[in-house]
């Protein structure tokens, strides 16, 4: 175990040394990886903030719940109890008589309403759900529509559906972007390691001749990939945090103009830590592919 740890720490140090030996190449690779990881990460942060913004704006959305025409007071009470459980946010009951009075108060409709033989309006509930994602509103509407005594549940869903579609499209674009840049990161690491294998050919040959195992030869290259990807991910995290910090004040000012207290949420500590972890994993994959290919001809 001690020997295994020693071999790994020696390989890690050799990898660090190799990165230090070509500082400009290392720096350029880190910048490329950093930018490549910043773009999809920034897209993800943007979507998360848009989702939060959508949720806070969802309070202005209404669900109208129309009861059966023959609904009695007991039905209204039952629905009220269900709404207390199911609906996060405000709601109010609009009796059919009050709704008719409201129509009669409208000068344009007064004559039409006066000509009606009886009140055609049902009792209704007006709901303003809060803290609920736009794409969850439709699910809530469907559930409310199934309540006993409810004839129809109507969601003003055009805005919600558009927003949900926008978020879905955004997620797809970020996923595609992340995939493309992940492949790019693997390719950058692949090339870096390939060049390093070429530069270290003499050392690899000698090491093999005097008893180095395949693992001994490969290990430092894996660590180079791991380090390069990890440091690139770290750079992406720092770049993104700095960028979000710079946007914080202008966005808060813009939100204030619309009477909102919205502020841009940055990366959580876990999300920040994920960036170097993902970078390291992709770097390791690039190194693995490159070393396997480059050393294939080497080993007797």
């Amino acid at each position: 175990m001690k020997s295994w740890l020693r071999q790994h720490s020696a390989a890690f140090l050799r990898a660090l040394k190799r990165l230090r030996q070509a500082p400009l190449n290392t720096l350029l690779s880190l910048v490329v990886i950093g930018i490549a990881m910043t773009l999809p990460a920034a897209g993800y942060v943007f979507l998360e903030n848009a989702k939060t913004l959508g949720e806070s704006a969802a309070g202005t959305q209404q669900i109208s719940l129309f009861l059966d025409m023959d609904a009695r007071a007991a039905t209204v009470k039952t629905v009220e109890r269900e709404l207390e459980i199911l609906v996060p946010g405000q709601w109010r009951f609009v009796p059919r008589a009050a709704a008719l009075e409201h129509l009669q108060a409208d000068a344009d409709l007064a004559d039409i309403v006066a000509g009606l033989p009886e009140n055609p309006l049902p009792d209704a509930f007006i709901l303003e759900p809060a803290h609920i994602a736009p794409d969850e509103l439709e699910a809530l509407r469907a559930r409310l529509a199934r309540l006993p005594g409810v004839a129809h549940a109507q969601l003003d869903s055009a805005w919600v559906e558009r927003f949900a579609a926008f978020l879905a499209l955004g997620r797809l674009m970020v996923s595609l972007l992340a995939t493309v840049f992940a492949v790019g990161l693997i390719a950058v690491t692949f090339n870096t390691i390939r060049l390093q294998v070429l530069a270290q050919q003499a050392e690899i040959e000698v090491a093999r001749l005097i008893g180095a195992t395949t693992a001994f030869v490969r290990r430092p290259f894996y660590y180079v990939g791991l380090l390069q990807g990890g440091l690139g991910g770290l750079a992406a995290g720092v770049l993104l945090t700095l960028g979000l910090d710079a946007l914080q004040t202008p966005i808060a000012r813009l939100a204030a103009l619309y009477g909102s207290h919205f502020s841009l949420a940055g990366l959580s500590p876990l999300q920040f830590a994920l960036l170097p972890a993902i970078g390291a994993a992709l770097g390791w994959i690039g190194a693995q592919l490159s070393v396997s290919l480059a050393l294939r001809s080497h080993l007797a």
Partner: protein, 217 residues
């Protein structure tokens, strides 16, 4: 006890047979010289004995290990028990003399301090301790060859294989290098040297002359 037993050993490169149907036994503690004209198969035979190349057919037992039965993963461990000295030395020119000699010890995962101590002892044996920080490029041809020997013996091998170790050296440097081999042989290391000039080998116990990949009668 035999250090090397080769039975109908053959190595073929496409249609060319570099070593063919070769039978050979070298006892432990021998100082063997392999001679022959260029292209006779000396280097190929040495590569086979050093597990650098795989035989095409035949049997080969080195240091008690059947090379044909050994898997790919086991080969490096066999190589660690051997000391190889190459005609072109194969030194790492971007490393110091000490680091060159330390390499086999780093490969087996020896603690750094112990590795440095043993590498210095090996450099001392070949008379290069004072040059431990020098890069190989700063050493003479003879010193480079002695450095290669130090690297070959630092793992305390039981078998030392050398391919034309005195080629390109002047007479004095060649004598010093050969005396080193003789010294290691005297402490029990089996030494096999491929050479054009077997008469220069001090106290050989075996002389093997190759001709077209076979032992000359």
């Amino acid at each position: 006890m035999n250090m090397i037993v080769a039975t109908r050993l053959t190595k073929r490169y496409d249609a060319y047979e570099a070593v063919r149907d070769l039978n050979l036994e070298i006892a432990s503690g021998d100082m063997a010289a392999i001679s022959g004209h260029s292209g006779a198969g000396k280097t190929t035979l040495l590569k086979l004995l050093g597990a650098v190349e795989r035989p095409t057919s035949g049997g080969l037992i080195v240091n008690g290990q059947n090379l044909l039965a050994l898997g790919r993963r086991a080969l490096p461990y066999l190589r660690r028990s051997l000391g190889l000295v190459f005609q072109d030395q194969k030194l790492l020119f971007d490393r110091s003399a000490l680091d060159n000699v330390r390499l086999p010890l780093d490969i087996i995962g020896l603690p750094p301090r112990e590795a440095s101590r043993r590498a210095r002892a090996a450099l001392d044996k070949v008379g290069l301790l004072e040059r431990e920080k020098a890069r190989p490029i700063a050493l003479s041809g003879g010193e480079q060859q002695r450095l290669a020997i130090a690297r070959a013996v630092v793992n305390r091998p039981t078998l030392l294989l050398a391919d034309e170790p005195t080629a390109n050296l002047d007479a004095d440097a060649a004598r010093q290098v050969l005396e080193l081999f003789a010294a290691f042989n005297q402490v029990g290391v089996t030494v096999v040297i491929a050479t054009h000039a077997p008469q220069t080998i001090p106290h050989p116990t075996r002389l093997i002359v190759l001709d077209h990949g076979r032992i000359a009668p």
